[in-house]
Symmetry: C2
Subunit: 332 residues, 2 copies
């Protein structure tokens, strides 16, 4: 499999390292960051690219760009791992559409375009006979999209509930475990590198809402938008509220919920019994899928991290490879 | 997809009902029970078969047998759901080999042949260019095989730990929750239909050990046998032991564990913190997969039940369909 990678942030670098270390049959024929690009149809040197990035701050030839990679490089799968723009989905949206239109598969960790243009992107992929996969957009290393699309194929999904934001879960866990205030727990999250300088996107519930939109588009209807989600963050949660919850053997978690039967699309702090499977600690994510045949299936795992995201991306790349290799194995 | 179903116990009947109720694009062209069989290349009437089974105790023509179905019926996928024989794997083993040799895909819930002859069956499937899938053999509705083979593809699995037997988990949960003795909890499990008249297979840990063999064959080496597993059941667990565990905020669960690095293949009661994700209640199953990239992924769900098993079987049938349809969607 020849892949071209757009984006050399922590996810792109983590992915390159994993591909370099493992014998997965994946050849990287192009990379691009915001300032430069590098293309070689026989495969670039991953060590050299990582070294160049470290020394110069960019990976390749500054006269080349992402657009050159998307439109000219030799690849089977475009891996789009640039930073998310939740409002427009750009420039990732354009890159993905160009690759699909060129008849190339796309794997992405980029929530923006998938949440914004789910239907349009999937129509474009279908029209061009290629696959669009986005496991890495939701739940980090948890293979929830695989489980929804393959493992539970044939099931009707009644609802999905989940802890989809590790930053919020860390803050709520620490408030409960140590009796910290929201501000103290947020400070600790920042010190640990779990929260950004401006934590709005996480603590106001926007990030889990975007992930919920992607899940809802996957199992419900392809036209769900961020504006359809009723969002409450965790920034108003007091330690008193958590203490009161504990008196009832409960705690508070930020739960994203999509329930077609009840018309619910919501991110909000919820009271959960301490023994509930969604009560996970620290930066973990947890997702419960409620179905007609399989009952409830809960998945727990790391919701972030460059290597964990690489795991999801590689799962998608290898799925595409095996799926299309299926043609050679067709039964008599 | 045309499927032939061998076995009309609770799993076979549950599967027929689900196929009948849902528009999955699956046509049943043959069924067989221990006394009879029915074949129609245009599709049998599921209602009539279920009715005949209820009235007569068998489903079709007593001059036909499973062998006729396997060797003569018109099907793409053989679904083998006859009762498990853990010692020889027969007669399912022969049926599966015959179908694979005929160039037909096989989906099974039958632990015996998969645990006994994993390598031989997979070699036979590969030789004939067909798929052998067995999601329903482990963890009921939990799509653990999909997660191992697809979702976590590219990961090295370092270890698997799990609660793989709902009967034992129910007994241990009830002993802890109600202060029951082992004998009292077993009696309750029998009354609820969770334990058989002879519970040896479950409470001595043989059933979870067979499932562990299947998991180990899937991610470790294809030659692991039941004899390689170090097995301790739950029938010697006293309520005192559980009380002592609780004093340390722990409880006891029957854990199946496969760890290649440490050379461990074991089913044994283990002390776990009450907050541990594998501490699930009642008949639930839970499986933690420890990997190099994704970290730990835990899956929780119903470990048994005819509809839950049907979910796993249908997931496998539709995977085969989509996988082989992949040939028509090949990218330019």
């Amino acid at each position: 499999m020849r892949v071209a990678i757009l984006g050399m942030g922590s996810v792109g670098k983590g992915l390159l390292q994993v591909i370099n270390q493992k014998d997965l049959g994946i050849t990287v024929t192009a990379v691009a960051d915001s300032k430069s690009a590098l293309m070689d149809r026989d495969g670039i040197s991953i060590e050299e690219v990582l070294e160049a990035k470290k020394i110069h701050g960019y990976c390749g030839d500054t006269s080349l760009s992402s657009v050159d990679v998307v439109t000219k490089a030799a690849y089977d799968v475009l891996v789009e791992v640039t930073p998310t723009n939740a409002t427009t989905g750009e420039p990732a949206l354009t890159h993905i559409l160009q690759a699909l239109t060129r008849g190339r598969h796309v794997v992405t960790s980029n929530k923006g375009p998938i949440a914004r243009e789910f239907e349009r992107l999937h129509r474009c992929a279908a029209k061009n006979g290629v696959m669009l996969r986005y496991e890495a957009t939701v739940g980090g290393a948890i293979p929830v999209i695989h489980v929804l699309q393959q493992g539970l194929a044939g099931n009707r999904v009644r609802a999905i509930y989940g802890v989809l934001n590790g930053t919020c879960n860390f803050i709520l866990s620490r408030m409960a475990a140590e009796g910290l205030s929201y501000e103290q727990a947020l400070l600790e999250a920042r010190e640990m590198g779990y929260a950004e300088a401006d934590p709005t996107y996480d603590v106001k519930g926007i990030d889990p809402a975007i992930k919920l939109v992607i899940l809802a588009n996957t199992f419900w209807k392809k036209t769900v938008q961020l504006e359809d989600v009723d969002i409450t963050g965790i920034d108003m949660i007091t330690n008193d509220a958590i203490r009161l919850a504990e008196e009832e053997d409960c705690t508070i978690r930020l739960i994203a919920e999509a329930n077609p039967e009840r018309g619910i699309l919501r991110v909000a702090p919820r009271l959960l019994p301490l023994s509930h499977p969604l009560v996970v600690e620290g930066t973990l994510n947890a997702i419960t899928i409620e179905t007609d045949l399989a009952g409830e299936i809960t998945l727990i795992g790391k919701g972030a991290g460059s290597v964990e995201t690489a795991s999801a991306i590689i799962g998608d790349i290898l799925f595409i490879r095996d799926f299309h290799a299926g043609s050679h194995k067709k039964a008599p």
